[in-house]
């Protein structure tokens, strides 16, 4: 089955950066979708059932933590791995694997790290050259 990644961020350049970062996975056949705010993110998550979601925290309409809560509660999205992209200095709740995101990544993030994590989560063996 085709793997899917959903990127939810209100900043166009961050969306582009994540897309470009994940280009090599796209070449491997992974589908990449984007959403521009929390509500659209949640709708797309429910519609597309991605395997991995990158979620920004501060977004219009619904923030990332709330989107994450809805996703984790949704029985149809059990297999969905949620990575929250947070800026340092934002107070985050302690990691709660049962109800919260699976992991936090701090901005500014290292693209190498992002693609390595994504490949791992999607169980895709990728020669990244490092």
């Amino acid at each position: 089955m085709q793997k899917r990644i959903l990127i939810v961020d209100d900043d166009a350049h961050i969306r582009l950066l994540l897309r470009r970062t994940l280009e090599e996975l796209e070449l491997e056949g992974v589908l990449i979708d984007v959403a521009e705010d929390g509500v659209e993110g949640l709708d797309k998550a429910r519609a597309l059932k991605p395997d991995l979601i990158f979620l920004d925290v501060m977004m219009p309409r619904m923030n990332g933590m709330d989107v994450c809560k809805h996703i984790r509660k949704d029985p149809e999205l059990v297999g969905c791995h949620v990575i929250i992209l947070t800026a340092r200095g934002q107070t985050m709740p302690p990691l709660d694997l049962a109800h919260g995101p699976h992991e936090f990544l701090t901005k500014p993030f290292d693209p190498d790290h992002i693609i390595a994590r994504a490949a791992e989560v999607l169980a895709i063996d990728l020669d990244l050259g490092f």
């Binding site: 900043d11 350049h13 961050i14 582009l16 950066l17 470009r20 970062t21 501060m58 800026a87 340092r88 200095g89 934002q90 901005k107 500014p108 993030f109 290292d110 693209p111 190498d112 050259g129």
Partner: protein, 611 residues
């Protein structure tokens, strides 16, 4: 008569003995020599008896005479004297009495003079003719004479007036002189005005015998009066000044007694807490409570003799800071405290605003920074991975250009990282300074902390001539602190050490005392110039230039370290000599030396002071 008897006996007795007794004795058969001897002996005994008898009589007579003399001297038995002696005797006695009185009077006069000389006012006694009978030293000196004796006997005219000036005549007539200004001339002709009060002296039969005057120097009086007045004015001025100052304060200020009574209040305090504030209990007046507040700062000040301050959230969100200061009396005792209230609501709101603003700004900065750094890194990856391999055959120029581009991108990446650190540091420091950072206190394994710091900085000293030497005690007790924050401090110090060391040894050591642990990081750099040592913990102060080609720091690392160490109630300091490197040290409390009360306080964390 007795004399004659004595003479008769003196002549008759030897004759009787020679012519009657001696022949009688011889006739009894005694030898004439023995008889003479016996008679002589009897005669001698008699003579001695007479002499003693006479002596006793004489003594008695003398005593009697002395007694009579004594009684006569007392004047009791003048009548026993022959009548012709009586007048002479009484005259003599009067003379003796007068002499005695004169002596007494002389003594009295001297002591009276002493008394009147000690008066600060002038005293003058005049006879009926206006001659000076007596005066005190004050008057004499005021008139510029040397002693009172120099004036006594002079007339009033000698003091620059008539013999009987009008005031003197008036005084004799009315018997009184009331605080009149009299002008005299002193011994050198200078004018002296004395405010004089006087009374006449009268003899037994009511005739005026003169006058007694007491005078006070006008100049002196007016000087004293004006001085007093000035002093009073100054006092009033200063009182008004302080009252004005007190009232001008925009904050309510009160003075509180040990039993919580409001003793004084400035205008603002009366405006805020009511006009009848003074005399009320502070807890009642200020907070409408029936008992003193639990965290009463005045009580702390009374107990510890130190100023202190607390913050109360009183109405809604209003926050008042109450500071108390000891008010010491002249005896050095603490009699009251000054209570100063300030509304710090705005300051706290501003702090909140600042913190929120900084959080927002740092987020807004981080987003574009993420793009910049991310795309830069992606480009480097693309160039390295997908372009460079195809340039092996390309002209030299193209390859060099690519190499230059990649190296420039590395600079961009490094600077991006630095900017990211700066944003983090600014955020950290502002949190620290606002007291918003909560430490998660727990026992911390120090060797693990050191290992963690060396691990975190390992990329910095790779490929350099730097030897990292951990110097740990065999048994190292746990420290009491926040593991992550302590790691931040140690990483900061170690990366600083690396930054300033070209080659050599960096030693990270731990020393243990019964109370504390001291962690030190010693570098082998150029050292810190003495003039920079005292500023080294200030913001944006970096000693000298960092090693060439290394990105320099944010200038906030050491201030953050200092704040963090202080939050751990430790000390941080630096020792350095130019050319010999620098040693940064900080202390931490041992987990086993922190008592439970402190632990619970630490765990409650800062911010708990707001009630």
């Amino acid at each position: 008569m007795e004399l004659w008897t004595l003479l008769a006996v003196g002549v008759a007795a030897p004759a009787l003995a020679t012519f009657v007794v001696h022949p009688m004795l011889v006739s009894t058969g005694l030898s004439p020599e023995w008889a003479t001897l016996i008679l002589l002996a009897v005669g001698a005994v008699l003579c001695i008896g007479v002499v003693f008898g006479l002596r006793a009589r004489t003594k008695a007579r003398v005593a009697e005479a002395a007694k009579i003399w004594e009684e006569m001297a007392r004047g009791r038995s003048v009548q026993e004297l022959p009548p012709a002696f009586a007048p002479l005797w009484s005259q003599m006695r009067n003379m003796l009495a007068q002499l005695e009185m004169a002596g007494q009077a002389l003594d009295d006069r001297q002591s009276m003079q002493d008394v009147i000389d000690s008066m600060p006012d002038s005293l003058l006694v005049l006879d009926a003719h206006g001659r000076i009978e007596l005066c005190n030293r004050t008057f004499a000196l005021r008139m510029r004479f040397e002693t009172p004796e120099d004036i006594v006997g002079l007339g009033l005219d000698a003091l620059g007036g008539e013999t009987r000036p009008a005031w003197f005549v008036g005084l004799l007539e009315t018997g009184e002189l009331l605080a009149q200004d009299l002008r005299f001339h002193d011994a050198y002709g200078g004018t002296v005005t004395l405010k004089t009060t006087g009374r006449t002296r009268t003899s037994m039969d009511g005739e005026p015998r003169g006058a007694v005057l007491v005078a006070r120097d006008n100049v002196e009086i007016s000087r004293l009066t004006s001085e007093l007045q000035r002093a009073a004015e100054r006092l009033e001025d200063s009182e008004r000044f302080f009252q004005d100052l007190f009232d001008a304060m925009e904050d309510p200020i009160t003075v509180i007694s040990p039993d919580y009574e409001v003793l004084q209040a400035n205008r603002q305090a009366r405006l805020v807490f009511g006009k009848e504030l003074i005399g009320r209990r502070c807890y009642r007046a200020f907070r409408m409570r029936d008992d003193p507040c639990q965290d009463c700062p005045a009580r702390t000040t009374f107990a510890q003799h130190q100023s202190t301050s607390v913050e109360h959230r009183i109405f809604g969100n209003a926050i008042t800071r109450i500071s108390t200061y000891p008010l010491l009396g002249k005896d050095g005792q603490l009699h009251a405290v000054i209570n100063h209230k300030r509304d710090v609501t705005k300051e706290r709101q501003l702090e909140d605003l600042k913190a929120n603003f900084l959080a927002a700004v740092s987020h807004e900065l981080r987003t574009p920074l993420t793009s910049l750094m991310g795309f830069n890194k992606l480009n480097m990856r693309r160039l390295t991975r997908y372009v460079r391999p195809f340039l092996a055959e390309a002209p030299e120029e193209a390859r060099t250009s690519l190499q230059k581009a990649l190296s420039d991108m590395e600079v961009m990446a490094a600077e991006g990282e630095r900017l990211g650190r700066l944003v983090n540091d600014v955020l950290d420091l502002s949190k620290l300074e606002a007291g918003r950072l909560r430490l998660n206190f727990e026992p911390v394994d120090v060797p693990a902390l050191v290992a963690g710091a060396l691990q975190a900085t390992s990329t910095l000293f790779q490929g350099r001539h730097i030897l990292m030497v951990p110097d740990l005690p065999e048994i190292c007790p746990e420290a009491w602190g926040d593991k992550d924050r302590l790691l931040q401090v140690l990483v900061n110090l170690v990366s600083n050490a690396i930054k300033y060391t070209e080659r050599g040894e960096i030693r990270v050591s731990v020393a243990v005392t019964p109370e504390e642990l001291t962690l030190s990081v010693r570098d082998a750099g150029a050292g810190i110039p003495p003039e920079e040592l005292s500023h080294i913990f200030e913001r944006f102060r970096q000693a000298g230039e960092a090693q060439k080609g290394r990105p320099s720091g944010t200038g906030l690392g050491l201030p953050i370290c200092r704040e963090l160490v202080h939050l751990h109630r430790g000390r941080i300091w630096v020792e350095s000599e130019p050319g010999l490197g620098a040693t940064f040290s900080f202390t931490l409390r041992r987990a086993d030396a922190v008592d439970p009360a402190e632990r619970s306080l630490d765990l409650r964390g800062p911010g708990a002071t707001l009630s």
